[in-house]
Amino acid sequence: MTNRKSWVYLNDRLARYLFISSAILVSLIILCIIWFVGMQGLSTFKEASILEFFTSSKWSPDNGKFGALTFIAGSIGTTIIAILLGGPLGLAGAVFLAEIAPPWVRSIMRPATDLFAGIPSVVYGYVGITVIVSFTGKITDSPTGYGMLAAGIVLAIMILPTVISLSEDALRSLPRTYKEASLALGATRWQTIRRVLVPAASPGILTAIILAMARAIGETMAVQMVIGNSPRFPDSLGSPTSTLTSNIVMEMGNTPFGSTWNNALFMMAFILLIIALIMIILVRTASRKGAAR
């Protein structure tokens, strides 16, 4: 019995150490990523100027011109389009699922949005190339249709599941009493949704939007396939341009590791990483505000 006893206790302690070391390992990974990618990226500025990198749109590495503004603008532009298109539609879907959908509709729509999330991004890119570019070509009156609008539309579809599921969770996690109280006061369902539920769930909805933005700005393959991949500053919605991600994919294979050009691509990745980390901090503040209320 004593033997068994100490065995049981030993197991308990071992398991505990195992779990905590796993947790610490996870934290070490992110630090490693920041360190490695950061070091590689920042070494760009041994030869290129920081100011030029962020303010010039002249990207001509062969001639020593490292202006990444085009890519930054492309990333931000596509993300904004994606949020403008996908945000309201996703929110509508979330409100619908949380408050309006009869159970049978819900039981169809939930798995459907989950499936949306499961579709690989290359498949989105594939659909973008095969269908969406010809559509955007007509709208923007450009010969190919490749460009920010096409990328924005693809991204809008891709962020739908994020927006829908997180916003729906936020709406559903509201106490039932909010809704009941409002309905009991004689408010219509829509008034309840607009004046009580959505404002109350706003921290969660904001979180959903920010995470969707994070996903959109970091998305690579789908964007790369429809953006046109031309290092031209995006002056119209329908002209080919590039984003941070698409340019990395395009050029990474052709540059020797350790060259300034290559390092500049790592710098772009580092920018993406920093943006992602900022988003996380935003999300944390948003949810903390929500909790404080």
Partner: protein, 281 residues
């Protein structure tokens, strides 16, 4: 009366929005499957440009990445849910997990490239791809594990501990079995995402397929289906029927995602059902 009208109008609009979302999905599926299904022939898999190798690599890399990430992800998730005291260290771990979850996959890809391809000098390998892919899985696994465990009522823990069980016994015999459906769903999610991941693998596992069928050598380069689709669609090799291959590959990917969803959600539903028993009021 105005309130009622706007109520009805809003409802109608929301119905329209929701149907648009569903229609969009249906259109996606019809488009992809409609274009791709006719190409899914034996030739498509086994022919000279067949995707047999890519299909195998997809699952092989997925399998390896789960082997790497599951123990750590589950362990960290369990720690966060069950042990973590409220202190700075826990906060830091939580922040790191969240940050890791938000890292764009291309950044993972570049990180994997520095670490495995250049620093360790492995070149493009299945091993490097799987290990990097594991990093993508990790934060989701941690979060899913933590959430599934936290969804287990506190009372189960108290009951078990109050009966004189150790924490580990409680975890193994009560909490983990109860959380199993949630865990399985989470792992499905991770697997589905990993299966379709491209950006990471381009820079770590490369875009070549071994000539040997079903090559399990982890140090060989291994192009997956998703990477293949990207390759043929964005840089079509002249002289191949690239469009047909792309159509077929896209359809195959979608079918894999659907099958995956179905295969892994059914057992978890069944588990849930068995666990909760016939719940009469």
């Amino acid at each position: 009366m105005k309130a009622h009208q706007s109520d009805r109008l809003a409802s109608a609009l929301l119905w329209v929005g929701a149907s648009a979302i569903v229609m969009l999905l249906v259109a996606f599926l019809v488009l992809i499957l409609g274009r791709g299904l006719p190409h899914l022939t034996v030739e498509f898999f086994n022919g000279p440009d067949g995707v047999r190798g890519q299909l195998f690599n997809s699952f092989y890399i997925l399998f390896l990445s789960l082997v790497f990430s599951l123990p750590v992800g589950l362990g960290a998730g369990i720690y966060m849910a069950e042990y973590a005291p409220k202190n700075k260290l826990t906060d830091l771990i939580r922040l790191s997990t969240e940050s890791l979850a938000s890292v764009p996959s291309i950044v993972f890809g570049l990180f994997g490239m520095i670490l495995f391809v250049n620093m360790l000098g492995l070149g493009f390998t299945i091993l490097g791809g799987a290990a990097t892919l594991a990093l993508l899985n990790l934060p989701i696994l941690v979060r899913v594990t933590e959430e599934s465990l936290l969804a287990v009522p506190r009372s189960y823990r108290e009951a078990s501990l109050a009966l004189g069980a150790t924490m580990w016994q409680t975890l193994r015999k009560v909490i983990l079995p109860t959380a199993l459906p949630g865990l399985i769903t989470g792992i499905t999610l991770v697997a589905g995402r990993a299966l379709g991941e491209t950006a990471i693998l381009i820079f770590t596992a490369g875009m070549n397929v071994s000539r040997i069928p079903f090559d399990v050598n982890p140090l060989a380069a291994g192009e997956t289906l998703a990477v293949h689709l990207f390759a043929v669609k964005s840089n079509p090799l002249p002289g191949t029927n690239a469009d047909q291959i792309a159509d077929g590959t896209a359809a195959l990917l979608i079918i894999m995602v659907i099958v995956f969803n179905i295969c892994l959600t059914i057992p978890s539903r069944w588990l849930q059902h068995r666990h909760q028993g016939k719940n009469k009021a």
